[in-house]
Symmetry: C2
Amino acid sequence: MRIIRTKAELKAHVRELKRSGKTIGLVPTMGFLHEGHLSLIDIARGKADAVIVSVFVNPTQFAPNEDFDSYPRDFDRDAALCAEHGANAVFAPEPEEMYDPSASTWVEEVSLSKPLCGASRPTFFRGVTTVVSKLFHLAQPDIAVFGQKDAQQLLVVSRMVRDLDFPIEIIAAPLVRGQDGLALSSRNRYLTPDEHLRATNLHRSLVEARAKIEAARAVKSEFIEAAKEVITAAGGKVDYVSALDRTTLREPTAGTTQILLAAAAWFGTTRLIDNELIDF
Amino acid sequence: MRIIRTKAELKAHVRELKRSGKTIGLVPTMGFLHEGHLSLIDIARGKADAVIVSVFVNPTQFAPNEDFDSYPRDFDRDAALCAEHGANAVFAPEPEEMYDPSASTWVEEVSLSKPLCGASRPTFFRGVTTVVSKLFHLAQPDIAVFGQKDAQQLLVVSRMVRDLDFPIEIIAAPLVRGQDGLALSSRNRYLTPDEHLRATNLHRSLVEARAKIEAARAVKSEFIEAAKEVITAAGGKVDYVSALDRTTLREPTAGTTQILLAAAAWFGTTRLIDNELIDF
C-alpha cells in the first residue's frame, strides 16, 4: 500500500492505475478510522479494482469555534487499518498541500445544505463540497463511498455530483453502530464513559420516534417533541430533531414517501449526530 | 464531425476517445462564432488529438435584465464553421438538458470575480464557473482554450482550475480584432453601423492609456480619466476603465509587474468589453 502526501504523487499514481485499466474507488475520511470507515473501504473494494482512502482533517469545514485542532488523529494506526482492509493507497496531505494561501473558489450546494446541521454549522457543507470536489479531481474515482451516518452530507454530495455532472457514482454505506446502539463516530473518543452511556439515548429517541411515524404513516410534532425529551432527560442538549422529506430536506408533504429522521445533540462538549431512514 | 445534443451521448463519445488513447481539447463557446472563436478551435487542434466545441448560451450567467433571449444564435452556421476548422464534435445541449429544475449547486470564485465585470454583473462569473465545471466533467478535456478577450473570465477560470485541482490545462488565446481595431464579439452584431464606428474608440482609449502607463511605468488616475473621456466623447457610456494587478485584480502595488488594463462601455444598448495586457 502506498502512502501519498502530495497532489503530484497522487496524480502520478492515478495515471498509473488508469493506464493499467483499473477502476478506482475513493473513500474520503478525516482519519481516526473506526469500523464504520472500514466498512466503507470494504464496500469500495467490492466495487472498484483499486481503493484510495483519503485521510485529511479538512480545515475549511470547521468553524473557528469548532474542534479542528483537537479532532483526534492517529495516522500510523489509520494506515495500518487501510492496509489490512486492502486499500491500494492512502492520500494524507497537509492542509498547506491542499490549499493555496490565495485559494478563493468554493463549491456550494445551497438547498439541501441549509436545514439540520447546516443551520448550526452554516459553513460546514461548503467546506465539505469544496474539499470533496478537489479529492474527486485529484483521485478521479469511478465510485466514491460515503457513510449513511452523515446522512445530510451524503445527500448534499450526491446532489453536487448530479448538478455538476461529476462522472462518479456515489455509493451509500449503511450506518455502523456499537453494541450499545451508539452510532460509530471518531468524536465518540471525546466522551467520558458516563457521557457515552447517556449518549446511547440519541439512538433510542430516534428508534421510538421512528416506530410512531411508521405506525401513523405521518410525522406529528408530538413524536419529535417526545424524542427531544428522551435526549434532554438523558442529559443531552438538543441541537435538532427533525423528520424531513429525504428528497428535498423540507417538511414532508402528502406525496412524501421517503423520510430522513435526524438528530444532533451535545453530550458534555461533544456534538453527536444520528439518523434513521423511513420509507412509507 | 459529430453533433451531440445530450450529456449521455457526449459521455459515450468521450469514453470512446479516451479508449482510443486520444487527448481532448475543449473550446467552450456561446455560439454565433466569429474569427476569435475559430482561432480558439485552431489552437485546440494544435494541442489535442480531438477538439470538442461546446455551443451553449448559458442562462445562469445572464441576469434577468440582460440579453439571454436576444443573444444571437445561428447553429447551422456554427456547426459548419466547426467542421471546417477540424472540430471532432460540437456539443449543443438545450438548457433543460444541462440543468435539472432542482439544481442547487454553484461553483463560485469569490476574489478575482468581484471587480470589473463582476461589479456590474454580480452573478455572471458564478454562472460561468458553474457551467464550465459541468462542461469539464462531461467532456473531460486535457486542455481547454479560453480567449484573452474575456480577460477576467480567463483569470477566474484559471483560478478555479488551480483551486479545485481540475486535471486540465487552461490555454489563453490572443484577442482577435477587426481591421478597425474593435475586438471581435458576438454582441457586435447588435451595433448599428454608426455605433460600430464609435465603439472603435474603446480600443483607442486603452491603447492611449497603455502608452502612458508604459512610459510612466506606473498607473496614474489621470491616464484612466483620459481613457474614460475618449469613450464618453465617442458617445459611449463607461461602465469601468481600470488598470489592476493581473495576479490579484487589486490596485497595483510597488511589486506589480503585470497589469490588466480593462474597460467596459455601452454603445447604444450594447455593452462591450476590451483589454490590454501590460508587462513591466
